[in-house]
């Protein structure tokens, strides 16, 4: 297994290299000039040229690329053009809120969707199945920002139970941290509840048709035990795969939720960096997302070992 982990980690190196080169070139060839953004509306052509020079953007593309790669090999992602801070520091500052959203959302989704999908599979074709799958279609269909505003209106503006926006780190108190994240978890989790419930339903219903389930029932095992101990556990591999993909997507893709709830995470940071053409930050974020994807996929693959003893690496 260690050999498998090592080979997977080694295989990320060329992936990250290709990602680096692609992002570097795409950013430089796309329209937009960070110096023009930094200069502001009243900057003259001379001012912008001076800023370009101070940022090193007046150097040739090859020169800029060699500096970028040279720094990268030393573990330096560069400095933000705007914030005058190392990119790694900026990512470290923003990763907490994103991980809080991603983990909470997925916990909420798993807690709701897995029992929901299992129950639907148990009564497949019945009214409970139709009701739960109807909810699932609704969850897929309604955009996250609509769910968010529908939650904010009663819970934040009318009842004043939960804050409208913002983020508080757990170090400032778990209750305050959770109160700022409950609405994002539910708003964003709705889609994942819908997705996971459908996957669970399909997977569990397939497992319920297996011979070992019939054997278990013949031996008098209770319905609950059949469902959750035998069918669900054997149906876990596709569910865990979807959860893994979901977490990876959430880490880089919670832009709308972070915007609606004004949460300073990696998603909103990506949008700001793209809008401002903050090249070092965009490059750093893309590399981080690529690495996070590889790492999460590796963890998912390793989790198969625990879930299915037949799997060997």
């Amino acid at each position: 297994m260690l050999r498998f982990v090592f080979s997977r980690l080694v295989s990320t190196v060329p992936v990250l290299l290709v990602v680096s080169i692609t992002v570097f070139l795409v950013l430089r060839l796309a329209p937009g000039d960070p110096a023009a953004v930094i200069g502001g509306s009243n900057a003259t052509t001379e001012d912008i040229a001076a800023i370009r020079q101070s940022l090193g953007l007046d150097k040739s593309l090859l020169h800029q690329f060699l500096i970028f790669i040279g720094n990268l090999l030393q573990g330096d992602l560069g400095r933000s053009y705007y914030f005058n801070k190392p990119v790694a520091t900026l990512i470290a500052e923003r990763v907490g809120p994103t991980l809080s959203i991603a983990s909470g959302t997925m916990l909420f989704a798993v807690a709701v969707a897995v029992p929901m999908g299992t129950l639907a599979a148990w009564r497949i074709g019945g009214w409970l199945d139709r009701l739960l799958m109807g909810f699932s279609v609704l969850g897929f269909s309604v955009p996250v920002f609509v769910v968010a505003y529908l939650l904010i209106m009663p819970l934040s503006l009318k009842l004043r139970w939960l804050p409208v926006q913002g983020y508080v780190p757990p170090s400032d108190g778990l209750a305050a941290w959770a109160s700022h994240l409950v609405l994002p978890w539910i708003a964003l989790g709705t889609v994942y509840v819908a997705l996971l419930a459908r996957v669970t339903r399909a997977s569990v219903s397939e497992a319920l048709a297996e011979d070992y389930i019939r054997t278990a029932r013949a031996k008098g095992v209770s319905q609950t035990a059949v469902l959750f101990r035998h069918a669900l556990v054997n149906a876990a591999v596709p569910i865990v795969t979807v959860v893994g993909i979901g977490v990876a997507l959430l880490i880089g893709g919670v832009v709308v939720t972070e915007t609606v709830f004004a949460i300073p995470g990696l998603g909103s940071m990506t949008v700001e960096a793209v809008l401002n053409r903050d090249f070092p930050v965009i490059q750093g974020l893309v590399l981080f997302f690529a690495f996070a994807n590889v790492a999460i996929n590796l963890l998912v693959d390793l989790s198969y070992l625990a879930l299915d003893p037949r799997i060997r690496y």
Binding site: N42, F83, I152
Partner: protein, 525 residues
């Protein structure tokens, strides 16, 4: 009690408790949603308004502009000028100190002026008159000019592009590099350790700040701070901004979205505060380097084709927040002038069509850039396109994001090679108060503003304006500059508008100025 009910009740109680703690902690903390995300912290390195406003919190200026636009002393106690106007002597008022406790000295001031003048347009003009500094003592310094510079006080007291005073060690940073030390001597202290880019910037009251005795007015007078802490809270989504204001999580939205004013006016616990009374002005800018707008007759035709009313009604929409203004200088300000020659501000497609025919225009497409992501601007190009087409122009409207527009407008090539013919922008009225500060009247060619108008006559008038030592002369040259700008069509004024801040009613006071300044505000419970 069933365990599930116990857990639910505990959770709700915990959340309510957290909310209560948050609410009590909000007292005497002013939370403001700024007009944009504060990214760059050096107000000299960038001319972005949000950075300028950040500068006003932590730095002080030698002079300020009061609410009527008159220049008043701020850090300066007294000043005098020699009979030939070549030597100006300034003495700083007592008690001025930087946030680190060190007194503000003449050396700090002279270094700050030099750094400011390396980037600011008025500062650059000032440099062409400037000869040397003479430091008399810690509190007194002299500026010696090679020839009289009549705009000395205006240059150091203008509210936009201000000359902020920094410690010499900071001001010695080349103007092309960002500063890393944010020590100022202003009414607030920047908490660099609490600055979270993209989330919030935090300032605390400078307890040692000695405000002037005069009442606050514009960027002049007493900068009294009545809150312990001020936070700029970054919220990008306008609806979330409004929700946060409604829930009391923020106290002020500096520039609400245009479509929200009707809702805000109906909210009982919110008031609108006109922080920048003269507002801002929409303008169309031409590319002077390439055909067709290298031909002044076509620029004139475009000017005649455009009408302010349609633009303002479409873009601003809310009654009371826009005004017709034919003067190139903002209406309601010092040099407002209705002598605008052929420019009326009213669309006259017939006259424009006639001019096009005389100029032999053959329908060559005009590349007009439109920033679709800039809500305060995105509708204007649609109206302009329609008005230009009504006069006979062929318009190629190209949609793009604002940052792409900013980059593209720096390109001098013809439109077909990645350049442009015209774009629309808006600028704070405080930037357009006179011909020297107005970027659209920068006619210094390749070194100048986008469009690169090269007009020695206009530049000469501006120099006369800067050198003038009497108000009557300044008015005369301001009018001459306006007429010259209209004759050569440096730009088209598309009207004036305001964006008042939305403030919760428990926040009282507030100062109207040429920039967004946050002193003089009280927060009640």
């Amino acid at each position: 009690m069933k365990p599930i009910r116990l857990v639910t009740r505990s959770l709700v109680a915990g959340l309510l408790f957290a909310s209560a703690i948050t609410a009590s902690a909000q007292n005497n903390v002013l939370r403001i949603v700024p007009q944009a995300n504060l990214t760059v912290l050096d107000p000299i390195w960038t001319s972005a308004y949000v950075t300028r406003d950040h500068g006003y919190l932590i730095y002080d200026t030698l002079f300020g502009s009061d609410a009527r636009g008159s220049i008043k002393p701020q850090m300066v106690d007294k000043w005098s000028t020699s009979p030939d106007q070549l030597v100006w002597t300034f003495t700083l008022r007592p008690g001025l100190a930087f946030h680190d406790g060190r007194p503000v000295t003449s050396e700090d001031v002279t270094a700050s002026i030099l750094r400011w003048s390396a980037r600011d347009a008025t500062g650059a003009l000032w440099r062409t008159f400037f000869s040397r500094f003479e430091v008399v003592d810690d509190k007194t310094f002299r500026i010696v000019y090679g020839k009289p510079f009549g705009l000395t006080l205006e240059a150091f007291g203008k509210s936009s592009g201000p000359c902020f005073i920094m410690p010499k060690r900071v001001a010695d940073t080349p103007a092309s590099d960002q500063i890393k030390d944010y020590t100022g001597s202003g009414p607030y202290i920047f908490k660099a350790d609490e600055f979270k880019p993209g989330e919030r910037a935090v300032y605390v009251r400078n307890a040692k700040y000695v405000p002037r005795n005069e009442p606050p007015s514009g960027t002049a007078g007493g900068k009294n701070v009545y809150v312990d802490r001020l936070e700029l809270v970054i919220i990008r989504d306008p609806q979330t901004q409004l929700n946060a204001l409604r829930a009391g999580e923020v106290d002020m939205i500096e520039q609400p979205a245009g479509e929200q004013y009707a809702t805000l006016r109906a909210m009982p616990d919110v008031r609108l505060l006109d922080m920048v009374p003269s507002g801002a002005m929409y303008t169309l800018r031409f590319n002077f380097l390439n055909a067709p707008f290298s031909d002044v007759r076509l620029r004139r035709a475009a000017m005649l084709a455009l009408g302010q009313e349609q633009v303002l009604r479409t873009q601003v929409a809310t009654p009371g927040l826009f005004q017709f203004c034919r003067s190139l200088y903002p209406c309601g300000t010092q040099y407002e002038d209705s002598n605008t020659g052929i420019f009326t501000g009213v669309a006259n497609p017939g006259a424009a069509r006639k001019l096009l025919e005389e100029a032999g225009y053959k329908g060559q497409p005009i590349l007009l850039m439109r920033p679709t992501d800039f809500a305060a601007l995105s509708k204007v190009p649609l109206v302009v396109k329609q008005q230009l087409e009504a006069a006979g122009f062929t318009v190629d409207l190209q949609n793009m994001d604002w940052q792409t527009l900013l980059a593209r407008r720096a390109k001098r090539q013809p439109a077909a090679q990645g350049g442009w013919d015209a774009f629309i922008t808006f600028s704070a009225s405080a930037d357009n108060l006179n011909p020297v500060t107005m970027q659209m009247m920068n006619a210094s060619g390749a070194r100048g503003w986008f469009g690169w108008d090269d007009d020695a006559t206009l530049e000469a008038i501006k120099r006369d304006f800067a050198a003038a030592t009497s108000e009557a002369d300044r008015h005369k040259f301001a009018e001459a500059a306006q007429l010259r700008a209209i004759d050569t069509v440096t730009h088209v004024n598309l009207g004036q508008f305001e964006q008042p801040a939305a403030v919760r009613s428990n926040v009282t006071g507030g100062v109207t100025a040429g920039a967004n300044v946050f002193w003089g505000l009280h927060k009640g419970s």
